[in-house]
């Protein structure tokens, strides 16, 4: 902290994963904050073309995470925001092996570098509510203290558990650094493009037969707000970040005007794998588990400590629906018209019957 600086806002911030959607938006947002002197975006790959405009105020360095140590030292970095996570295996970037390399090894390297950085004061790590794993004995609502009862089957969930384990180790070794772990619910919003938003954009949506999981989303803008506050303010600890309230999957599908197609659970993982290899969607065990068990978290700690309440899950989902009305099969107006039509014809028939009898 520079002398006389009372806001707690950092001087030099490094953001990893700026080549991706979330990283780019966070970096741009931090760069726009006057309290922050310098924002450096790190990513081994060049950013997507559509994100380059966003990153005009951000110093970009193409760098692997294993050579980050020197950078942190030389530039007197005092805050690291680690967002370089891959949520689903991408065949173009090494599939599952590449995903694990990026998530687990990348985080290890980052934390190793951060541990040696003398001026580091703050570490913000993106995590996920997948950290709670899935089990039939799980409580309905996870608080930050809930321990996972079973290790998740999906790759992403396992990576998240590993990452949080490394952050715990880092906290022990560098107690002077404010470490914030943010467990995000799945992102949604008008612009977000994730496995889940692509799933809800299809006209016909596969679900698991006999299961109607409870889902929570966080609006992309609210996620940005929370990340921004984590950098600009002091919030040590682990926080669930999700929109309050719950949508059941069937309800979400209906609200989006899509049609659900229940699929039998046994063998579903195999079907998903085949579909994946044929290039239809990227659903893995992470998604199957989510659609069997659902996941709801308690966000009261976030609301208390950050003084900020993300918009509700239902509102966030509405925002998504407005942007993706293309593939709608059934609209509300159609339903209302059908209701009136049926009611009216019933009345007609009844009055005819009454007249005749």
């Amino acid at each position: 902290m520079t002398p006389g600086d009372t806001s707690g806002a950092p001087g030099v911030v490094v953001v990893t994963g700026v080549g991706r959607w979330l990283g780019a938006h966070v970096a741009a947002r931090l760069a726009a904050d006057e309290r922050i002197e310098r924002v450096i975006g790190v990513d081994p790959a060049p950013p997507n073309p559509e994100l380059t405009d966003l990153l005009s105020d951000v110093e970009r360095i193409r760098l692997d995470l294993d050579s980050l140590g020197g950078l942190l030292h030389d530039l007197d970095v005092d805050t690291v925001v680690h967002l370089a996570l891959v949520t689903a295996p991408d065949p173009q970037q090494g599939g599952r092996a590449g995903m694990k390399e990026q998530n687990v090894i990348g985080t290890m390297q980052l934390l190793a570098a951060a541990q040696r950085a003398p001026r580091l004061r703050k570490l913000v790590v993106r995590s996920s509510t997948a950290a709670y794993g899935v089990s039939f004995r799980d409580p309905a609502v996870f608080t930050e203290e809930t321990e996972p009862r079973e290790v998740p089957r999906g790759g992403f969930g396992r990576d998240i558990l590993d990452i949080e384990g490394y952050v715990r180790g880092f906290r022990r070794r560098r107690p002077d650094v404010t470490a914030t772990v943010l467990r995000f619910a799945p992102f949604i919003g008008y612009a977000a493009d994730t496995t889940l938003t692509r799933y809800f954009s299809q006209p016909v949506v596969p679900t698991v037969f006999g299961r109607d999981p409870r889902l929570q989303f966080v609006h992309f803008d609210d996620a940005l707000e929370v990340l921004h506050r984590s950098v600009a303010e002091e919030h040590p600890g682990t926080y669930n970040v999700a929109g309050p309230g719950v949508l059941s999957l069937s309800q979400a599908i209906r609200r989006a005007g899509r049609v659900a197609v229940p699929v039998l659970e046994p063998g579903l993982a195999g079907v998903a794998a085949i579909a994946r290899s044929l290039g239809f969607g990227r659903y893995g065990l992470d998604q199957v588990d989510l659609f069997v068990h659902g996941r709801v978290v308690d966000t009261s700690r976030l609301e208390r400590e950050y003084g900020f309440t993300p918009r509700s899950t239902a509102a966030a989902f509405d925002d998504f629906i407005r942007a993706h009305h293309g593939g709608v099969v059934v609209t509300r107006d159609q339903l209302a018209t059908a209701e009136q039509l049926v009611l009216e014809s019933i009345r007609q028939v009844r009055s005819t019957v009454r007249e005749r009898s």
């Binding site: 609200r255 339903l335 018209t337 059908a338 009611l343 014809s345 009345r347 028939v349 009844r350």
Partner: protein, 405 residues
């Protein structure tokens, strides 16, 4: 009736003349009207309509003072009919939807000007069936559009009120002729932990208890049940459990519900109670570790013991085929006089007479600090157990014949 045949013919004629979508439900409708003393003038029919169907309902006389505008204690028959109509409507809905989609743009507004938007009650005030149909359709539209709320445990009051409770109501009032007493011992508001005895091979008692409580409680409170994790392993069943307000029996969930001021129902015997033999009927099984007591102590919630008589006779379990149960990964595999011999028919519960009595609440607020003291927890669990057991004996004396009136 001079010529019922003629009338019937006439009824079957009608649908041919009108657009397909409405035809089926309407006939259904007409049929229902005619079974009731039929050709009453519509205007005169309305006030008389309600009592006439409910006259033969045993429960109906019990609560004339219920003010509820939606007549929550509605005669079961109506709900059935409504459901039937609703079900037909589901089938027809698809057709209707297509019809709407295919309709030329011009005709839709025409259809809309025809009906003075919705108020079925307005043009024929008090027309019971019209209201029912309108309600059913509105419910369907809400469901199809996703316009309902689900709480963080997955509880869906809309569905519970419209579908689950009417179905269980049929069972508990007409089939099991359930008598409920001691409802005044339940808190009018705020948290309460209802602890009952479990029985019946299939845990129908949980459903009956929650519907009976909802119907009889002056504040129409919902009972939030805690279920074994096996319930939540099974597809379909798990979702019914969640949507009707249930959740996994674990202390975080119990304490969260109690902390929210809900009425929570728990059966500490678990599968030991449900899966006991008929020979052991009305003998309370072990109460586990008393986790329910700890949850109540930690939240300072009063415990209301409840004794349920009648559940043991619905599927009298004569034997338990353990190897088969192990094979199917079930806690027990029942053999009853009818199951598995009669196949699906063996699933019909025997019509035993049910008595439910809520006992005076046991306050726990003064023991808040003792939630981790095993001695206090076990003593309290024993006290609850004794209360239920004694009340069971008392109720059994009141009911000499298990299948009596």
């Amino acid at each position: 009736m001079s010529s019922p045949d003629e009338r019937r013919d006439a009824r079957y004629d009608v649908p041919l003349g009108v657009p397909d979508p409405g035809a089926e439900p309407a006939r259904r409708n007409g049929h229902r009207r005619l079974t009731a003393p039929s050709a009453r003038p519509a205007a005169a029919a309305d006030p008389a309509d309600e009592p006439d169907t409910s006259a033969d309902e045993p429960g109906a006389a019990a609560e004339p003072g219920v003010p509820g505008p939606a007549t929550p204690h509605q005669p079961a028959r109506k709900s059935v009919a409504k459901k039937a109509v609703a079900k037909k409507a589901v089938a027809k809905k698809a057709v209707a939807k297509k019809a709407v989609a295919e309709q030329p743009a011009g005709s839709t507004p025409a259809g809309e000007t025809q009906n003075p938007a919705g108020p079925a009650v307005a043009d024929r005030p008090g027309d019971h069936w019209d209201r029912k149909v309108a309600q059913g359709l509105a419910f369907l539209r809400r469901r199809l559009a996703g316009d309902y709320e689900v709480d963080e445990f997955g509880f869906d009051p809309d569905l519970t009120d419209a579908v689950v409770h009417p179905l269980v109501r049929l069972l508990y009032r007409d089939w099991f002729r359930t008598e409920v007493s001691g409802i005044e011992h339940l808190p009018a508001e705020g948290a309460g932990l209802v602890v009952g005895n479990h029985s019946g091979t299939v845990a129908l008692d949980a459903l009956i208890l929650s519907t009976a409580l909802h119907d009889r409680h002056p504040a129409r409170r919902y009972l939030r049940l805690l279920g074994a994790d096996l319930v939540f392993r099974m597809p379909v069943v798990s979702e019914i459990a969640r949507k009707t307000g249930g959740t996994v029996a674990c202390s975080p969930d119990a304490e969260r519900l109690l902390g929210n001021g809900e009425l929570v129902g728990v059966f500490p015997e678990g599968f030991k109670g449900v899966g006991k033999l008929y020979a052991d009927r009305y003998k309370l099984q072990r109460f586990g570790r008393g986790g329910f007591v700890s949850a109540a102590l930690r939240t300072g919630t009063p415990i209301v013991p409840v004794a349920i008589v009648g559940g043991e006779e619905i599927y009298p379990m004569l034997a338990d085929i353990k190897p088969l149960a192990r094979l199917l990964k079930l806690p027990y595999f029942p053999v009853t006089p009818t199951f598995p011999w009669l196949g699906p028919l063996g699933m019909v519960p025997l019509p035993s007479k049910w008595l439910i009595e809520f006992c005076p609440p046991i306050p726990t607020a003064h023991l808040r600090d003792a939630a981790d003291d095993p001695l206090v927890v076990f003593n309290l669990a024993d006290q609850v157990r004794e209360t239920i057991q004694q009340t069971l004996h008392k109720l059994l004396e009141r009911r000499p014949d298990p299948f009596g009136p």
